[in-house]
Subunit: 229 residues, 2 copies
């Protein structure tokens, strides 16, 4: 319940709240963990809870009737998980890695929003951020080649998971939060193509991979060259 030390308090939506409101909300919040693969929001799981993502990665995906799948977004701490005002979300949110969450009931969040317009303001900002990201990714899906897609993906992960990589940092290191199949579903490719592109980047010396998960990028600018934009 120590909101003061919580990341969502500083960079997330909870920053909108006054100390009293935080106390109220904290009393109604539940910190809990979910493990890789757990469904957080979906057709099955009704949307009665909203959460702040405190650690780990959440994947948002959609599935066509014949089983084809597309991951439409990734969320990182301290993102807000859950679709406000949703009729039905045709979207599934799953833990991509083990995650820590801080959850609230729908009612609690909506009461807070009513008395604290700044909360809605922060939600608007997060939603705009996600919209920008979604549109950027549409360019990747619609107009980039397989190798450009792969490079774009690695850069995206690097900037989110290696705290130092977003600056003018030269190198980056991180664990891939997704399996090959999920990467394929995110990039609109097959698992084989993902695998081939990774080995291509590896044999070119642009990345190194250890244990199939751990990636080292020695020169981010070379990777940026591959990404196409």
């Amino acid at each position: 319940m120590l909101c003061v030390s919580c990341e969502a308090r500083h960079r997330g939506v909870c920053g909108a709240l006054t100390p009293e409101q935080l106390t109220t909300l904290a009393a109604q919040s539940i910190k809990h963990k979910a493990t890789e693969g757990d469904e957080l929001v979906g057709d099955a799981v009704q949307i009665h809870r909203y959460s702040n993502l405190l650690s780990g990665v959440v994947k948002l995906s959609k599935t066509l009737s014949d089983g084809r799948q597309q991951i439409v977004g990734l969320q990182f701490a301290p993102d807000f998980v859950g679709r406000p005002f949703s009729k039905e979300s045709t979207l599934t949110a799953q833990a991509a890695t083990d995650v820590d969450l801080c959850s609230f009931s729908r009612g609690a969040v909506e009461r807070m929003m009513a008395q604290q317009p700044d909360l809605e303001h922060r939600l608007l900002r997060q939603t705009l951020k996600e919209l920008d990201q979604a549109r950027d990714w549409m360019v990747t899906l619609g107009r980039k080649t397989a190798s450009e897609k792969m490079a774009s993906f690695l850069l995206m992960i690097a900037t989110n998971l290696d705290p130092a990589a977003d600056a003018t940092q030269r190198s980056a290191t991180f664990d891939l939060p997704l399996l090959r199949g999920d990467i394929a579903d995110f990039l609109g490719l097959t698992i084989e193509t993902v695998s081939r592109q990774l080995t291509r980047l590896r044999t070119t010396g642009i990345i190194r991979i250890e244990n199939n998960r751990h990636v080292i990028v020695d020169d981010l600018s070379r990777l940026r060259t591959c990404a196409g934009d």
Copy 2:
């Protein structure tokens, strides 16, 4: 200045405003027209104005450094055009058809937002709607075949341009708001593939086309079958 009869007053963001606020805003608003191809927001055009789209279609697009283009969204009346709180929008908004707009200065909108939280609430809802649409389209871009993409596009246009088509309506009629090249940029295809898919749908009897622009769908359910979801 007759906000009372304006569509944005009823279904758009202006519905958030009190009569007095409407009067204030109306005094600062400018109704104007733009013709096909005009750039409304972009790297060139600074973002000092926000607009309500009163009629016509606006296309939002992004361009890679080598010229590849992707249309990342279409807007229809009474959508709100312009990115609030934007640093720089890497996005270009262009009139896809001739359009009517009702524009406000950035300052006016921000003042309104400060005193009228409901305005921000409506913006949040529109943004969430656009986010949902963007994510739906990501599935189309990443996982659908050329013919499924074409069918999805026609359905999308039909539901937005033929007022009757969204219900359980059986047929639809509309003018394509985009040239073949723009359709290609929206679907992540080439102009030739778009052309071929259209003739395929035409020869199958699923659609009829007059004057290269006017489309008649006699049986929407057949088209839906083609769309894949």
